[in-house]
Every structure is written in C-alpha cells, then in structure tokens.
C-alpha cells in the first residue's frame, strides 16, 4: 500500500512550481498577472457558493436561536430575540433521540451493506468474460436512476395488496399473510422457537439503501482492483496460497484504504439522506431519520426555528463523527 500513499496532493499545483523560482521583475509581473487571472476565473464560483451556500448556513445558525414560524416570517427581521428554546425542545424530546438512533442505525447498516455488496460484486466481475462491460454498466443503474421512479417501483413491488414480493412470498415461501414491508413498525419472527422483534420497515429501507448505493462502492473498488499488480498474486499462488488466502493476504490489504474512504463518504451521504426514506415510508413506521424530521418541522409545522436547530444538531453530530474518524483512523492509514 505504501506505494500509493505518497501521491502528490492534487491541489499542490502542476507546472506552477518552476515559476516561483524566478525572482526577476518580469517574473513577478507574470506571477501577479497569473494571480489576477486566477482570482478572476474563480470568482463566479466563489460568489455563487458563498451567497447560496455559506451565507445560508450561517443564517441557519441565527435561525436556530430564534422563535420563528412560517406564519410570522414576513414581520420578523434578520436579528430577532435570541433564545435557546429550540435547542431545549430538541434535546428534551424523546422523539429526537429516537430519530437519532434510527439515523445512526440506518447509516451504519446501510453503509456496511452497500460496501459489502459492492465488494462482492467487484470481486465477482474481476475476471474478464463476455458481456462483462454490459453487466458492469447494468449494475450501475440503481445508482443513476431517478430516485422517485425506483422508490415507486419498490413500493409497488412490496405492496401488501398487489405487490409481486408478497404474491410469491405467500405462495412459494409459505408466508402466512402478506407483509407490509414499508408500513409495519416491527414484526415477530420466530427463530428456533425464539420470538424476535424485527424492525420491518427500517430493515426494508436499509435493504433499499444497499441496493441503491452498492454500485458506488462497486465502481470504486473495481477501479482499485484494476490497479492491483498481478505479480504479487501469482507469486503467492506459486507458493501454494489458495484463492481465499490470496484474497485475505494479498488483495484485501490493498483494498482497505479504498474501503475506508468509501465508508466515510457513504456514511456521510446516508446520514444526510432525505429522499429515500421520505419517498419510501414518509418517515413512518419507525423510519423517521433526522433529515425527514427537519423537513416535517419546516413544512408541516412551519417551525423554522425548530427545523434549523435540528439541522444544526445533525450537522454537528456528523462533524464530530468525521472528526473522530480523522483523529483516530487517518494517521494509522498513512503508515500502513
């Protein structure tokens, strides 16, 4: 792995380096001209990002400390009476902690499942065969298809009335009655006489998340696999290592850094995701993640302050988790 880590950071410029040595007058003018051109070219981006992203985020902080409702929006100014009431309400409500637990479970298991399936897919498609290109492209479809269309297809497939899953489940798999995958909070499953409560709807949205985003992991792991030198594996085979041993000791260690990066990215995106759960369950049946709850506060209840406070807490938790990751794990990665 040590080979790859030392790649130059992409931002530390290509081709600019020699110019900095020039100390002559004309060099400095050139440098200045370059700096001016650079600033001019980047400024539209900076302007739109600052105006449409950075300022709104800062404004959210202000909003979170105000008692603001959609109804009295027109009459209130930018700086109202600041209060901690929104945060007290957020932290004081049991619903918030429940939603946080749901969000964490959804992101952790969704991320793990997506990367697991992606890894299996990447390994299975590693060797060349006819139509491999086509199969690869097909496997990327869940990730690029419009979220509204695929959630609707899933909802119909899983529908207890005329869904294909329940139709065949009751006939072939011996289900006693149709399962309401998306609207049932929990169901009892008996395993060897033990009755275990299973959060049906939450598991279903996690399965959807795995289906939806495994292609992302698959894509990146495939790219990484292509860069694994075959000589190491051949040497190991000559030494008598079997297929699983070669995977465990040769291939997997080379994939781990990619898996780590993928885990972080997928975790962040799943943690923040709104569309999937909103479209599948509307946040019902024990699947209300924080982003859905923010949306409901904002539109259904018109509680701007409460929505802003929840969104801020969501972002803060995410920042803490990423910070923990960078602090605990990133240094180790550099050495490996």
């Amino acid at each position: 792995m040590s080979v790859d880590v030392g790649a130059p950071a992409p931002s530390s410029g290509s081709g600019g380096a020699p110019r900095s040595d020039r100390r002559s007058g004309s060099g400095r003018t050139l440098q200045r001209a370059e700096a001016r051109a650079g600033l001019a070219l980047i400024s539209p981006t900076v302007v739109i990002v600052v105006v449409m992203v950075v300022l709104p985020i800062l404004w959210t902080v202000l909003l979170a400390f105000q008692r603001l409702r959609l109804l009295n929006l027109r009459s209130s100014g930018l700086f109202g009476n600041f209060t901690l009431a929104n945060f007290e309400k957020v932290f004081g409500s049991s619903a918030f902690w429940g939603n946080l637990a749901t969000t964490l479970a959804y992101s952790v298991f969704g991320t793990a499942a997506a990367i697991g399936v992606g890894l299996v897919a990447a390994l299975a498609l590693r060797r060349r065969f006819r139509f491999r290109g086509l199969v690869r492209a097909a496997m990327l479809l869940p990730y690029v298809a419009p979220i509204v269309a695929v959630t609707y297809a899933w909802k119909t497939m899983l529908s207890p009335q005329f869904g294909v899953a329940n139709h065949w489940g009751t006939r072939l798999l011996g289900w006693d009655e149709p399962i309401a995958f998306l609207s049932q909070r929990s169901s009892e499953v008996s395993v060897f006489g033990w009755h275990v409560g299973v959060p049906t709807a939450l598991l279903t949205v996690i399965a959807f998340e795995a289906w939806r985003s495994f292609p992302f992991a698959f894509l990146f792991l495939t790219a990484r696999l292509q860069a694994v030198p075959s000589t190491l594996e051949e040497a190991a085979r000559v030494d008598g290592a079997t297929l699983t041993q070669r995977f465990r000791y040769i291939v997997l260690p080379q994939l781990l850094p990619t898996i780590a990066v993928l885990s972080v990215l997928r975790f962040i995106w799943t943690f923040n995701s709104f569309d999937d759960i909103w479209l599948l369950t509307g946040g019902g049946a024990g699947t209300e993640v924080i982003s859905v709850s923010v949306f409901n506060s904002l539109t259904a209840r018109g509680d701007i302050g409460g929505a802003a406070a929840q969104a801020l807490v969501l972002a803060a938790i995410l920042a803490v988790l990423i910070g923990l990751y960078l602090w605990r794990l990133a240094p180790r990665e550099e050495q490996s």
């Binding site: 070219l41 299996v120 690029v144 899933w154 949306f295």
Partner: protein, 312 residues
C-alpha cells in the same frame, strides 16, 4: 489479472497401474471449484436483483390495471397483451383528462439544461484556475468546495426555503436553477480539475510563447483537449438536475404547472385516485432519459468519477 485462476492444473495424474487412489480434493482445488460456481451464482443473482425493479416497472406500465389486480404475480406478458393506454393517460395534458407529464418533462428539461449550461459556464474557468494558476487562496477554495459537498442538504434547505419564501421567488424555476448550480458547481470543478491536471502544461506554454493570450490558450488549447471530460461532466450535471427531488419539493410543490417530472411523479403517487399502472408508465418516462444518457456516457463518466481512485 484476468484468467489468473483458470490455469490451475489438477494434481499430477495417478500412474496407470495401481488401483486409483481415492481422489481427494486439495484445499486449493476445492476452493477453485467452489468459487467458480459461486461466482456465476453471484453474478446472476446480482443482475436479477439490480434489474428486476426496472423490469417490473416496464412490465406494469404495459399491463392494463384490471389484469394486474387479477394476477399480480405474472412475471411475463406477451406482446399481444400489451397496452399502451397508461402512457397515453400519463402524457395527455391535465386539461384533457390525463396527468400532463409532457409539461412536467418540459419543466425538468428547462431546469436540467439550464443547470448544465450555467454550471459549465461557471465551473470551467474555475476548474482551469484551480488546476493551472497560482493565486492567493487556491487551497482554501478547494477546502471550501469540499465542505460544501459534505454538508447535509437538508441543513441548506431550511434557510433557502425561508429566504426564497421571503423574497417571493419560491415557486419559480429560476430560483430552483440557481440553487442547483450552487450545489453542483463544486463537484463539477472537482471533476474538471482532475482532467485539466492531465493536460500537459508544455502545450499551453508553447502556445503562450507563440503569442497566445491567457484566454486564447484556454479557448484554443485547453478546452478542446478537455472536451471529453467536459461532455462527461455535462451529462453528469444533467443527471443530477433531472433526478433532484428535495429542493423541487420544497420550492415548487404548490404550483402544479411548474412541477418537475420527479416531483410530479411523487406527488401523484401520494394520492390514491391514479392507477398504479399509469404511474409506472410515468416512472418509465422519468427513467428513460437517464438510462439513455447513462449508456451514452458510461465509459466517460466512470473514468471521470474514479480518476485518482486507484491511488487509494
């Protein structure tokens, strides 16, 4: 790496004379056989799981509703049973008894193409600058863009919703378009910069020595060389804008004439009065442009997205 596992010869054949020793699988052979089978099973299984929802979507859109209710488990219907009525209903304008998806598609197309054009206009110079030019704050700008990408979009939804409500732009496609551009431009710059980094600087320097101005170098050398990446990027932006749901829901939900196709589908699916088959036809219509764009650009896109991924 392809074919590494194929050529494993079985252990040396037993000599002909003595009775053949009980043939025992070595661990290596066992694993090779096991995984050869598993591999096929996994590929077929994954293909089914991946494609079935799309197949089911198309299937239901072609069957009349009463047939679906009678026999919900049918996995195949012959062309003689196909019925294009759902597509007609979904495309007919709302005034004429249909669902007016043509209008929704037009809205989506306006927003998506507008986002592509505006994003490229802003991101191309930006990506060039970040890749080529040394200016004060270049690193900070990259960090800023990365941070934008990682923030929860729901956090942004709150202030933007309030702001656009306040200035009365909520419900306009233009407002939505600006929001999209601001969200996508950072990713776009990231992808384009990766490509500009691979264009040799010496080409640009040669042009500069020949008397080309900075803009001339960009226009005559860098842009033509980066064309594949630019096209891939444009298609990528198109797909994001076409698929986007949250901000469309927040901004446009009150005015049916302005619904994008994603929003329209989700809103109609929320009600109960529209038959499932009609909405499935709607789903197919939303999905087809994406599939076309995706297969047209798959190679370009995957290379653009994973550029640098093999560095770990």
């Amino acid at each position: 790496m392809a074919g590494t596992e194929v050529g494993v010869a079985p252990p040396a054949a037993t000599p002909p004379k003595p009775p053949p020793a009980p043939r025992r699988f070595s661990r290596d052979e066992l694993e090779n056989r096991l995984f050869a089978v598993l591999r096929v099973v996994v590929i077929v299984g994954l293909l089914i799981v991946t494609l079935f929802p799309f197949y089911y979507m198309g299937l239901l859109s072609l069957r009349p509703l009463d047939r679906v209710l009678q026999d919900p488990g049918a996995l195949w219907v012959g062309p003689s049973e196909w019925d294009l009525g759902s597509y007609l209903t979904v495309l007919t304008p709302g005034g004429a008894g249909g669902q007016g998806f043509l209008q929704f598609m037009a809205n989506s197309a306006i927003v998506a193409f507008g986002t592509v054009v505006l994003t490229l206009l802003i991101a191309l110079p930006g990506a060039y600058a970040v890749s080529r030019l040394r200016f004060f704050g270049r690193r900070q700008v990259s960090v800023l863009f990365l941070a934008v990408y990682l923030f929860p979009s729901i956090l942004l939804a709150v202030p933007l919703f309030v702001f656009f409500t306040r200035i009365g732009l909520r419900g306009s496609l233009a407002g939505l378009l600006i929001v999209y551009v601001s969200q996508i431009v950072a990713v776009s710059i990231y992808m384009l910069r990766n490509y500009f980094d691979t264009v040799p600087v010496s080409l640009e320097e040669a042009a500069a020595i020949d008397g080309c101005s900075r803009l001339g170098v960009m226009r005559r050398i860098s842009l033509p060389l980066a064309m594949p990446a630019i096209i891939a990027n444009a298609l990528f932006v198109f797909m994001i804008a076409w698929n986007e749901f949250l901000f469309a829901l927040l901004f446009l939900v009150e005015d049916r004439d302005r619904w994008t196709v994603s929003l329209g589908l989700s809103q109609l699916a929320g009600g109960i009065e529209i038959p499932t088959t009609v909405l499935m036809a709607g789903s197919v219509i939303v999905t087809i442009p994406i599939i076309v764009v995706f297969f047209a650009s798959e190679r370009l896109l995957t290379e653009g997205l994973t550029a640098g991924a093999e560095k770990g």
